[in-house]
Symmetry: D2
Subunit: 193 residues, 4 copies
Amino acid sequence: MFPAIPDEQFQRGDVPMTKQEIRVFVMAHAMIKPTDIVWDVGAGTGSLSIESALRAVQGHVYAMDGDAGACELVRLNAAHFNVSNISVLQNKAPMAMEGLPDPDVVFVGGSGGNLAAILSESARRLRPNGRLIVTAVLVETLYETLQFADGLEGFQVESCGLQVTRIQPIAKRHMFRALNSVYIVICRKGECV
Amino acid sequence: MFPAIPDEQFQRGDVPMTKQEIRVFVMAHAMIKPTDIVWDVGAGTGSLSIESALRAVQGHVYAMDGDAGACELVRLNAAHFNVSNISVLQNKAPMAMEGLPDPDVVFVGGSGGNLAAILSESARRLRPNGRLIVTAVLVETLYETLQFADGLEGFQVESCGLQVTRIQPIAKRHMFRALNSVYIVICRKGECV
Amino acid sequence: MFPAIPDEQFQRGDVPMTKQEIRVFVMAHAMIKPTDIVWDVGAGTGSLSIESALRAVQGHVYAMDGDAGACELVRLNAAHFNVSNISVLQNKAPMAMEGLPDPDVVFVGGSGGNLAAILSESARRLRPNGRLIVTAVLVETLYETLQFADGLEGFQVESCGLQVTRIQPIAKRHMFRALNSVYIVICRKGECV
Amino acid sequence: MFPAIPDEQFQRGDVPMTKQEIRVFVMAHAMIKPTDIVWDVGAGTGSLSIESALRAVQGHVYAMDGDAGACELVRLNAAHFNVSNISVLQNKAPMAMEGLPDPDVVFVGGSGGNLAAILSESARRLRPNGRLIVTAVLVETLYETLQFADGLEGFQVESCGLQVTRIQPIAKRHMFRALNSVYIVICRKGECV
């Protein structure tokens, strides 16, 4: 009944997580179809992987993260949400991408220092009408992704920052509580229909 | 191929319009099904009405606005997007709501000074599992909607502000361009499933 | 050498604190002169009281807070910054204001439920050309202060929200880290010169 | 009686202008003393030059802009505010800096493509305890300035983004109106006192 899973339903550890309001926006742009192949690079807690697996019910999600703790969290969350169409790959991208089926959707939430290679390999492998979506929480990720996107041919690119302020009830009153800004760069392969 | 229609595809006049990034978020929360009945109160340019009509293909959208120019814009945009499941009611809410079928989704984007009556009538008429979504661009609308929502029984309420910064390409560089803040209050009827 | 004291130089406990970037903005608007009388209502950690005392070197600062822990923190911070021109009043405003000399500047950062009375008493007692500055972190405080300010005669009012994003260095990169939004309402007594 | 000059008091043309709320923050960080030498690189309308000239009454402000229209606006605004301690240099930085006295404060609001050279020459020429303040409205300016600042020795650096939402009165109500985000990087020469 929700457009995205509430944050507190995920196991989180101290791994960074894409917050619910951002996931609503990112998932709306991902437009995942039931048969889609999804790559989640720098999967973290796996929140985008889980959201994707719940939509790509006949497809498959490949969650990649170089960190063992993150991979364990993705597995825990997959079990908790009872999704079996996720494979967790404990390996850094772009190496982890080798041998995987080409994706309809790629999320890049972390790069482990290989951002340029991850972006170009993702764009190259992306299927027609595929979507590459980068969520940037670092100035450097935003800058490098925009540089990369400017050089892409055959893609449509748009980008924005989202500053979400949650309204938190507190003793019958309502407090402004900011989430950290996230910049989102969306690259769509092929012409607009 | 887009999660929401680009702003420039709408006829706009000088009527305020819910911007694309906000519509992505609002429509994701509306979760409109093909058979849904949608009320759009203070329809403005009709951008949410059009988005809704494209999703509720076997349902119907009732766009209400007290302003003749706004109603004309909604009709122009409905014709442009070739949707026929929209009725435009040039009448102020809540009067305009009389005689309409009960809604699955109500959007409130403008109130013409009748916010309290609009909200309570919307909540009363809303079908089980219905969603009432208020987009507030005034301090007063945010305050009054939160007051109202606190008194609701049998609803789940959440609320946040969205500050969108578009990244605008400009001579091979990228400029931060803010949209106005919008606060969004979402009231879901019935228990969470 | 700083326009405002860095946050980490204050003793904080778990009392909320006006962050440095907000203090820079608030203190610039307060325009405190060496002989000014300053009231700090809902003083919290006393960060604005300390900043004020360092500027009103021949004046005096009255820090009011109903909470004993907050008052203790103000005293600790006054000692730490070696300012003696602060009186800490553990009493709720507006009662705490009785008997004090009329202020040139009033800060309202917390109201303990007495906002309307605090604002009207502050406006009444304010000296010619005095400044009343409210920092609102609740929707209700923002709404009620704007309502109050609209009814003021002989004042100039302006208001804005500040969403600060700190750029935090992290492993040779730079992360966007949001502070909570604060709305600031500034009421200046008398005509603009 | 204001901490910064209201926007509407400046002649603006269609040259971009540092808005009042941002000037309040920037000028607070600049901490200009009466005898200071100020360089304003990419002066635009000259709003920061005028604010500086009003504070550096025994000092001098050098406003540099490669654009003839901008230079004309700075001259108009200097005449309007009756300040004579401004020299307008229609020349691009860093060339325009040659032969000028070393600055206490440098503002960089535009770079004409020479950002790296402007920053390094500014840092080199800055007097002890001097302040170099960059206002970035482009992703590239933010990124390049942070890269530059990371390599500086003998400076203290801090940085933040400011998203200002003006509260605009409109028919007895109050509308949220966003200004564009500006990122501000402040480099202080020498140790903190």
